[in-house]
């Protein structure tokens, strides 16, 4: 294809090297992310987290992974064996494949060859990511179905319904980016963000994308497919050992994938943030952009962890309402708005001043309509009688009213200092 002259020119061994590098980076990133998640969540809950094995406890997830792989592998009697074995593979392979179109950096010299830091690119790269992700859903659905268990089936159904619904909102959020970049290829979208990130220009799209990417990856607060209180483990209830490890790996790689995609589409990809390249020209050359890329990506992953440590799980119907009744209509309206703006500004060659004046007039009209428009006839709020009826044994209020604020810290009789520090370091 002549559209992307940089790609498709590599010698075969270079392609192999890049593919292996992506594989290794993703596996290591997964190990790191598990450790990071445990540490961050622990900090948020005033614990310490894994800190014993390796520097800062970094090898903990490696040890856990080995342990998981060596556990007994159980295939339930009621399972459909072929599909049961196939399902985890179907989750993991698409997760790795999607990373082939993510640009990690600009053109570099690798083993004496000039090559872009990206395995490949195609004119439909972003659509390719969505297509492959939709194959990944098969793994979850089939895993849930083939286990032959009610919990698994319900988890698989929930998960696929969720991923399909949120993929719609996600796709609509991306349309605005395509309109501005004029391309679906990831490397060209990064190139189009040389001056301004799309996350700043198309902020509503960015917000919709971030919300739907959390729904897409089945993470808290949208982790309904594996809601422990309702479904035991969701679609992977019956999985154990290496097969479960593959599901686990797939989930973490998907998290990395959507973060990398968000970085590429909205935060300028591997480009240096905050105009650092204005001061330091080398910031966007060679291998340096890897820092920016992974920095931004890990920022998103931190955001994932932060959400998990903060928000409670949503109820299923509320969650679906959010997707279908809020995100998709909002995304549709925003896309129409962006397309109109785009058309007006290119067809009539309007300057910034005219656009601002037009926007101001529109805003004023909306405000005026809000003030002088038809009177709202709000429904009378029904006053539900919740005063104690004497039927439920409610304890009496403490004298002086309800206690507010934190409880007084607990104090213990003093011990020797050495014992205390010893006890603290044991904790992990």
């Amino acid at each position: 294809m002549n559209e992307l002259p940089l790609f498709g020119q590599d010698v075969w061994w270079l392609v192999l090297v890049k593919a292996v590098l992506i594989f290794v980076v993703l596996v290591l990133l997964t190990l790191f992310n598990i450790w990071w998640e445990r540490r961050v969540v622990a900090r948020m809950q005033h614990r310490i987290g894994p800190n014993v094995h390796g520097p800062f406890g970094l090898l903990q997830s490696l040890a856990d992974g080995v342990k998981l792989a060596l556990k007994e592998d159980i295939i339930p009697k009621a399972a459909d064996k072929v599909v049961f074995v196939l399902a985890p593979v179907l989750v993991v392979i698409p997760a790795f494949v999607t990373f082939s179109v993510i640009p990690f950096g600009p053109e570099v010299t690798m083993f004496g060859e000039r090559t872009p830091l990206q395995l490949t690119d195609m004119p439909v790269a972003v659509l390719f990511v969505m297509a492959i992700a939709s194959i990944g859903i098969y793994g979850i659905v089939l895993g849930g179905w083939s286990s032959g268990s009610t919990y698994s089936l319900l988890g698989g159904l929930r998960s696929s319904a969720q991923m399909i619904s949120y993929e719609v909102a996600m796709g609509l959020a991306l349309v605005a980016v395509f309109l501005y970049a004029g391309s679906l290829s990831t490397s060209e979208i990064v190139a189009a963000q040389e001056d301004w990130w799309f996350g700043a220009i198309l902020f509503p799209s960015f917000v919709i994308y971030v919300i739907s990417m959390i729904g897409e990856t089945n993470r808290a607060p949208f982790d309904l497919p594996e809601a422990e209180g309702e479904l035991v483990g969701g679609f992977h209830t019956e999985y154990s050992s290496l097969k479960f490890a593959l599901f686990f790996l797939g989930e973490y790689i998907n998290m990395a994938t959507v973060s990398a995609l968000a970085t590429t589409l909205f935060l300028g990809g591997w480009r240096a943030p905050f105009w650092i390249d204005e001061i330091w020209a080398g910031a966007n050359e060679g291998y340096v952009p890897l820092i920016w890329f992974f920095g931004k990506m890990l920022l998103f992953i931190f955001f994932f962890i932060w959400l998990r440590g903060t928000l409670p799980r949503m109820r299923y119907d509320q969650f679906m309402d959010l997707g279908w009744k809020v995100l998709i209509p909002a995304a549709l309206v925003w896309v129409v708005l962006v397309a109109t703006m785009r058309y007006v500004s290119t067809a009539y060659e309007l300057g910034t001043q005219e656009i601002l004046i037009g926007g101001g007039v529109l805003l004023a009209l909306i405000l005026l309509w809000g003030f002088f428009g038809p009177e709202e006839t709000g429904e009378p709020v029904e006053d539900i009688h919740t005063a104690p009826t004497g039927a439920y044994p409610v304890p009496p209020m403490p004298s002086g009213g309800a206690q507010r604020g934190a409880a007084a810290p607990l104090t213990f009789p003093s011990r020797t200092q050495a014992t205390v520090t010893h006890g603290a370091s044991e904790e992990s």
Partner: protein, 287 residues
């Protein structure tokens, strides 16, 4: 060309499998193989947009819908091999053969020239060329198709629509009602107990046990109860079994449970009680 010779046999085998395989879900999966192979063929024919759309729309959406329906019929459901109409199978095979021969003969008659104009159509890029055509020459049919699909979706929603007779009960109102019910009739206001609590198994069809060892019937789905698939061994039979075992072996007092403690392990004896492992590794309740 290599892609074609690799994918074509695969597609033919998978397509045959769609017809021949017993289980509906397997044949849906084989259909997915056919569709993805087709998408890859589009890619090798320089139609990348069609490749992505084929996977997203057909594999990702339509086939997933098929799977949804198929999955709900259960893992063990397979086609019945009993002929309901006499001679149907023979007629079907003959009809299929005739159809196949006809197709082969007809297709062999026509000769198509080499396709030309791909380069010209893709000159400004595949997506750009496609967009140009869709939004200029074929804009009317494009819009008409969109309108048709939306009408179909709206129609489906209309058919499935149910007019609500009374306002929907909100979370707050529901809580108040439950509290009221607790006050008047003493009905438990919390969530129902999950199946399998304190029982030997945590399967959905095993009722939870109350602290006195009697089964909590609320803990099993009404659907399962109606189907009659709930395990209904006598509530304490298993416990007596344990007590007898402990008495037989004697001297084993691992864990905290004594022989008279019936609150923890009194579940339903589902498999064969006699082949339970006896001795040191006797599990004290479920993990």
């Amino acid at each position: 060309m290599i892609a074609f010779w690799v994918l074509a046999p695969l597609m033919v085998i998978a397509a045959l499998g769609v017809v021949l395989v017993r289980r509906a879900v397997h044949s849906a999966l084989l259909l997915a193989v056919v569709m993805i192979s087709l998408a890859v063929l589009y890619l090798t024919l320089e139609a990348p947009f069609l490749f992505a759309v084929q996977i997203i729309v057909y594999t990702g959406a339509i086939l997933m819908l098929f799977l949804f329906v198929l999955m709900l019929v259960g893992v063990d459901a397979a086609d019945s091999v009993v002929e309901t109409i006499r001679g149907q199978r023979l007629l079907a095979i003959t009809g299929g053969l005739v159809m196949g021969v006809l197709l082969v003969v007809v297709v062999a008659q026509i000769s198509l020239g080499t396709m030309v104009g791909m380069g010209a159509a893709n000159a400004g890029g595949n997506i750009e060329g496609l967009a140009d055509l869709l939004f200029s020459r074929y804009v009317l049919s494009f819009e008409a198709t969109a309108a048709l699909l939306i009408t179909a979706a709206l129609g489906a929603m209309l058919l499935a629509h149910r007019e609500r007779l009374e306002p929907k009960e909100g979370q707050r109102a529901m809580a108040a009602r439950r509290m009221q019910e607790y006050g008047t009739s003493g009905r438990h206001l919390g969530p129902l107990p999950s199946p399998g609590v304190y029982a030997r198994h945590n399967a959905v069809d095993t009722p939870a046990l109350l602290p006195d060892g009697t089964p909590a019937t609320d803990s099993v789905s009404r659907v399962l109860a109606a189907r009659g698939t709930v395990r209904s061994a006598p509530a304490l039979g298993d416990v007596e079994d344990v007590q007898r075992t402990l008495g037989d072996v004697g001297g084993i007092s691992g864990g905290s449970g004594s022989a008279t403690d019936t609150s923890a392990g009194g579940g339903y004896n589902t498999e064969n009680p006699d082949t339970r492992p006896q001795g040191d590794d006797w599990p004290e309740g479920d993990e």
